[in-house]
Amino acid sequence: MSNITNQSLSEILESINSKKISSLELTQAYIKNIENAKKLNAFVTTTFDQALENAKKFDNKPNNDQLLSGIPLAVKDLFCTENVKTTAGSNILNNFVPSYESTVTKNLWNNGAFLLGKLNCDEFAMGSSNETSFFGNVINPVGDHLVPGGSSGGSSSALAADLTPATIGTDTGGSIRQPASFTGTVGLKPTYGLCSRWGIVAFASSLDQAGPMTKTVNDCSIMLEAMSGFDEKDSTSINKKKESYSKNLKDNIKGLKIGIPKEYRVDNMPKEIDELWEKGKKILKDLGAQLIDISLPHTKYALPTYYIVAPAEASSNLARYDGVRYGYRSQKGKDLIEMYENTRSEGFGDEVKRRILIGTYVLSSGYYDAYYLKAQKVRQLIKKDFDDSFTKVDAILTPSTPSSAFKIGEKTNDPVSMYLNDIFTVPVNLAGLPALSLPAGLDKQGYPLGLQLIGKALDEQKILNIGYAFEKNCGYKNEIKKWWS
């Protein structure tokens, strides 16, 4: 089974459960891949010894009744992992070892998986290209000059390069879906509150949501089922019965109404994106779905709204990194204020500082009403747009991103053009809805492009079903050449 790591999670699970391969063999195969893929810089930390230990433990006493029996998984370095360094891609946490495990990762381990390593990401998940990480940028396996998207860029890169059978990321404004789109993988941002935020380094609390990144829609449903669930330690967690997404996965979408919002276009958007969208519509129509033109009139305000709300919350969430109790502390400074100033100046990177400044500004007295309060009102309007549409349609189809993966360094000096990359993903976070990014085609350079399916709150099953049907009929095949090994 030399190419076991090429396979999907569900195929691997089958091999494990039928004892065609041991967990140890599987783990060793991934470790080999990871060691050969250092160029991609997808990992901040590897936990090979611990993983091999866990694999052996599983093989000695296999429990195959679990969703993720014997599966090694690498996860975004934003999830706190007990006794394993957790950096959030930042210098300010570069020596931080939590004494606790995030609820979401604990759920994965409780379902039979174990940790393979921690994946690089934009610093505090702030970025769309994984270039803001203190640990260096991550390279997209699609091409050595391409960004893997962000902020879950280590996750998308590792997944596409077969360094982990599946992974998890977090999505505040597109940080799962955009990198999935850039690497030809499947990424789901669940409904806000479906996955616990406890133990995830916070960026913007009202938007952050963890979700799966996988090779197939079926894999995605397995991972979502394993990681989600009510958590009393998170006050915003939704208390509802757990669903069996993988068991209930169906490819019959006949009669479903798919909304096509006219506002999901930007100036100078490559024609290929439009063509991709058309292709997606046709596939769904051919499967018996009904396409309905809809309007989400406040879409154009989503990005500016997001860039007020997210930095505002971030400026407050990141106040705790002050060098007093844990993490990096500058040795310079003669009093408390100087210690703060130096610690935070040296500990945070430029993008994080930029957002702290924006956030501090929009919350300041005299500006609060004009910015933060106004943004909250617009956010309600954006949410209402979706609510209104969902009285008419079952799901909404849009492109995931306005372009394919861009070049490393291309947008680093132009934050606004970088932010524009999130234009199709951000409205979903503001509305707290679930959305799935599916690989749908390649542009003329051969770079992957994704389509996004947006669902009603807690309607993950429906968009997974549509995605499942789409996937079967799309004919997309990810053929990444392993140029790095």
Partner: protein, 489 residues
């Protein structure tokens, strides 16, 4: 009593000034665990022994509201006759300090859990109503310790995250005496409710004091200064007195008062500027996205209302009606729940009025003397009732009762037993008394003659001699009667 006698005005050359005071009282909620974490709130633990990952703001930690603290705030609101808001919001108050791990305090800003209410004060000039503006829940910060090391500051986070109720009064207070009465009344109400222990030494009750002055008769308020974090009533009164006089002096000199935050220096007995309005923090309040708005079911509020204990104002009224006490006595006896409980137990078994007199006199003096509370009084309510009854029935005289009381304090014994064993019973047998009186009169024939000649002052002398002869046990009333009869005859 006339109000004028108690007016608190400051006389300047240019006029008479009135002092306007509003208080922001921070009362620590009585609860086993903190407002948003499971850590213990017990006072006096070793530094940093009651700190969870949430209290120390580790990455990814989230607050979860402690329902008991919410209930305590509702109870307190009900005790202040205030409106309970079915919808309230927790906000973040952002600022940096070493003992504030999150970099923000979770508080309530625009939508507090409790709205307007009122508190009644019993002043010598009658009752006065003080308006409550609001009550909100918030987290306490930790403690910075600057004097343990010459060059380092240490931080103790045991207090970090403990629930506080900030109770904001309207600017209705007009003198240090009213402030004293107000704080005591708040404390009493909260102790009755069991929502705050009111222990000022342990910091369970502290206040920021807002002071301004204006000429008597002025309708507009003057510019106010806020004196931060004063932790005893005495210091509050001293700070107000100093601050009001400072402001009057400024006005008299034709200067303006800067709106600022000041600190009270308890050693120098003066207030000092801490920061001016221009330097005021911009706290960047915004709703905490980690917490959903707090929505209260009306049923919860109604149920809590039904389960409230009798509050001091109601109890006072009942004491007046049921036990025939005057307003002053009733006030004193309801000032602490434990005192009122003790009194009611005594009053059930003895003369109600006499019980009040003896409690407020000898019992309180003794407790005060020994630094004890009513709850650890060496005399049980039952024994105290028996003592009162022994006085009332004439078994012992008031004077003897004081001796019995002393012995009760020392031994904790039952008064009957003491009276019995020490032979302290009052002599009320008329024949015995007559015998003693005759003996005295016989011994003092010359004085009897003087008395009869008109020197009536000597009557007291004869009584005293009888008392001496009886070792104080002669029934004074009977002795008087019989003595009078004999001297007349």
């Amino acid at each position: 009593m006339s109000k004028e006698k108690f007016d608190y005005f400051i006389n300047g050359e240019k006029g008479k000034y009135e002092v306007v005071i509003g208080l922001e009282v921070h009362a620590q909620v009585l609860s086993n665990s903190k407002l948003f974490s499971g850590s213990s709130t017990k006072f006096g633990a070793d530094p940093n022994k009651q700190v969870s990952l949430i209290d120390s703001a580790f990455p990814g930690m989230l607050p979860v509201i402690n329902e008991e603290c919410v209930k305590q705030a509702i109870r307190t609101g009900l005790g202040l006759n205030a409106k309970i808001n079915n919808y309230s919001v927790f906000d973040r108050k952002n600022y940096f300090y070493a003992d504030l791990p999150q970099g923000y305090q979770i508080s309530q800003y625009k939508n507090p859990i409790v709205g307007e209410g009122k508190v009644l004060l019993d002043m010598p000039y009658g009752s006065k109503e003080i308006g409550i503006e609001r009550l909100h829940l918030e987290q306490d910060a930790g403690k910075s310790i600057h004097d343990m090391d010459p060059s380092n500051t240490y931080v103790d986070l045991n207090r970090s995250g403990i629930a506080l109720m900030e109770i904001v009064s309207k600017p209705h207070l007009r003198s240090p005496d009213e402030v004293n009465a107000y704080i005591k009344k708040l404390r009493t109400i909260m102790r009755y409710l069991g929502t705050c222990d009111g222990n000022m030494q342990e910091g369970s009750l502290r206040a920021d004091v807002n002071v301004s002055v204006r000429k008597v008769g002025d309708k507009n308020f003057g510019t106010r200064c806020e004196i931060k974090n004063v932790n005893s009533i005495k210091f509050m009164q001293m700070a107000i007195e100093y601050e009001a006089n400072r402001q009057v002096e400024l006005l008299e000199d034709g200067k303006e008062i800067d709106q600022e935050t000041r600190l009270f220096d308890t050693k120098k007995n003066e207030t000092r500027s801490m920061r001016s309005k221009e330097d005021a923090h911009d706290y960047r309040y915004f709703p905490d996205p980690d917490l959903l708005p707090l929505k209260l079911e009306q049923k919860l509020i109604d149920d809590l209302k039904k389960s409230l204990p009798e509050l001091p104002d109601n109890k006072k009224e009942r004491f007046i009606k049921e036990y025939g006490l005057n307003s002053y006595e009733a006030n004193v006896l309801v000032s602490e729940k434990e005192i009122s409980d003790y009194y009611e137990e005594v009053a059930k078994l003895s003369d109600k009025k006499l019980a009040a007199t003896w409690m407020m006199g000898d019992l309180f003096a003794m407790l005060n003397d020994k630094g004890l509370n009513i709850s650890n009084s060496p005399i049980s309510a039952k024994n105290f009732a028996e003592l009162v009854q022994s006085i009332k029935s004439g078994e012992i005289s008031g004077r003897i009762a004081k001796d019995v009381f002393e012995i009760m304090v020392e031994s904790g014994d039952n008064p009957k037993k003491i009276i019995e064993s020490k032979g302290m019973k009052q002599q009320s047998d008329p024949k015995e008394l007559e015998k003693m009186i005759n003996e005295i009169l016989l011994k003092n024939k010359d004085k009897v003659d003087q008395y009869k000649a008109g020197k009536e002052k000597l009557f007291g002398f004869f009584v005293g001699e009888v008392m001496k002869l009886s070792s104080g046990k002669a029934n004074p009333q009977l002795t008087n009667e019989i003595l009078k009869k004999i001297l007349k005859g």
